[in-house]
Amino acid sequence: MSSMGVAVDERIKETSKLRKALIRPELGAIVGTIAVFSFFIIFAGDSGMFNAQGVLNWSTVSAQFMIIAVGACMLMIAGEFDLSVGSMIGFAGMSIALISVTLQWPVWIAILLTFVLCTAVGALNGIIVVRTGLPSFIVTLAFLFILRGFTIFFPQLIERRTIIGGISERAEGDWLAPLFGGKIGGGFFNWLADMELIGVFTRGTRMGEPIVNGIPMLIVWALGLMVVAHIVLTRTQFGNWIFAAGGDAQAARYVGVPVNRVKIQMFMFTAFCACVFATCQVMEFGSAGADRGLLKEFEAIIAVVIGGALLTGGYGSVIGAALGALIFGVVQQGLFFAGVESSLFRVFLGVILLFAVILNTYIRRIITGER
């Protein structure tokens, strides 16, 4: 083989090192995060948004978005998306409630059964998509309706109501429930309060206790899922397959990537994330309602897209999606702290989404040399 001494192409102008280092899928989300925080520090800095309680407040909301965004992100990178996430959340919550309250089975069985059920529905979504070759938009739209229909129909048929409460009582003493509904780090916050680093209640029933008494498991789950998904995606063989499945399924198949399996597994993972979301919510609030999770599928997709992923698959970052969720959560809560008319929230959301994707597209073109 003649080494033809391919020199640097004189027809390409040089691009700087710094610029190269900065150019990553999540750059847009990083810039956005900084911008959003700067904005609120200036305009809502003294509204309590950045004291311990305020931070917990928007962290919790962001963590919620993050849990479903991580699932949606992995799935989107694998080239599909799932509009049934929101309905799945309602469905999973209702399933836990019906099994534990109506059937009076132990809560841990209810949770495990629900996880099995939901991932099975996720797998079904996936199987239909890969078998028929239909766009996932349509297939999961069908499941959006089907799951929501069942979520309303069953409790009404069985319990004659559509909000089922009483799960908190059933969950007491259960070994699995605290993994979703509990808090950790209570001691640490007590210590912080003793050191007067965080505030204590000055009135009401809990006077003297620290305002923040622990980190909800919701946040732990969000961070955990994010870290695991990020490592799987960027550091493992399976991660490479996810990118490949979304980038060009046919090409990936040709070199031996089990594309169908990967896609189905990603649908299952998305369902799993929706189920984690639902379980945390049910365990925290002690009730399941037929209207839970409405429009969550869009919120997940928005967070992922703000985070720099490509709607058509094969490109994106879990960190980006997580930052997208953070932006989403901070903006949503921040507008309340800043006292903005709340019906304008949707307008802000739309505008931010638009700006984020335009920025991301620009960044992606630079990375991939796309035209």
Partner: protein
């Protein structure tokens, strides 16, 4: 040592393949021996790509048998075929533009590093090997993280060939690797084929170009409308005969006359 002294690595017998109402292959036999370059020629739609996809495990033959090193095999997926040692560079390239060169290079066969109970992809090795293999093929990458989408067509083709060679295939299938390439890149690919052949790998080389085939081929099989027109050894056939065989003979004579015999 002539290649046809060996036993074939892969032997395909009477392969048929139907797609719904379309009969793409109608009984094709073919074999490939170590160290030889076996050219597969034929018109558009003759069934060349379909045939090699059957060999590579992408399609299952409707009828017929595949023997790999003497044993009858049936590949369920491209992965099976790859693991047995059949590497393929597809006509439609099988590269994913949005992914980096390294990720593309290793796709489907990622190197694994164990950390405790966990298996990670070994990016350090992967990057080094990729850079090295590309350098061997005469391409200096800016960085192994470069997206394949930023490479030129010839460079992409080279990545695909380098990948196939690297994975130590026993049989390397190249589906029209030169059709989109310029003279220089073509020469490069042909000399790569020559070099790979000398290491004892059997090469299946698909092309429309009789001259490219004659430059490196040891044997020549011509497909026509899903059937073989026969296999010839190097030296047993002249370029003109091969040309005629591919095009179905007579009509060419008239055309060649009017165009000065240069087609």
């Amino acid at each position: 040592m002539e290649p046809y002294d060996h036993n074939p690595i892969v032997e395909m017998r009477d392969i048929e393949k139907h797609f719904g109402p379309v009969i793409a292959l109608n009984g094709v036999s073919f074999d490939i021996r170590p160290g030889e370059c076996h050219c597969l020629l034929g018109d558009n739609g003759a069934g060349k790509s379909t045939f090699i996809k059957t060999m590579a495990g992408v399609h299952k033959p409707t009828k017929g048998a595949i023997f790999f090193e003497g044993r009858q095999m049936s590949f369920d997926s491209p992965r099976d075929a790859m693991e047995a040692g059949i590497a393929t560079v597809y006509q439609d390239l099988a590269m994913i533009p949005l992914m980096s060169v390294t990720r593309n290079f290793w796709m489907g066969r990622e190197p694994i590093k164990r950390v405790g109970p966990f298996k990670f992809m070994d990016f350090k090795t992967a990057n080094e090997v990729t850079m090295e293999e590309m350098r061997k093929m005469g391409i200096n990458l800016r960085s192994p993280d470069q997206a394949v989408g930023t490479l030129s067509g010839g460079e992409r083709q080279t990545v695909a060939i380098a990948r196939a060679v690297h994975f130590g295939a026993k049989v390397l299938i190249l589906d029209e690797p030169t059709s989109a390439l310029g003279v220089r890149q073509t020469a490069n690919v042909l000399s790569t084929i020559d070099k790979v052949r000398k290491t004892g790998i059997g090469i299946v080389f698909i092309t429309h170009n009789v001259r490219h085939a004659l430059a490196v081929g040891d044997r020549f099989t011509v497909l026509n409308r899903g059937k073989t027109l026969g296999t010839a050894q190097r030296g047993q056939i002249t370029p003109e005969e091969l040309q005629d065989l591919m095009a179905g003979g007579q009509e060419m004579v008239a055309l060649e006359g009017s165009l000065g015999g240069t087609v």
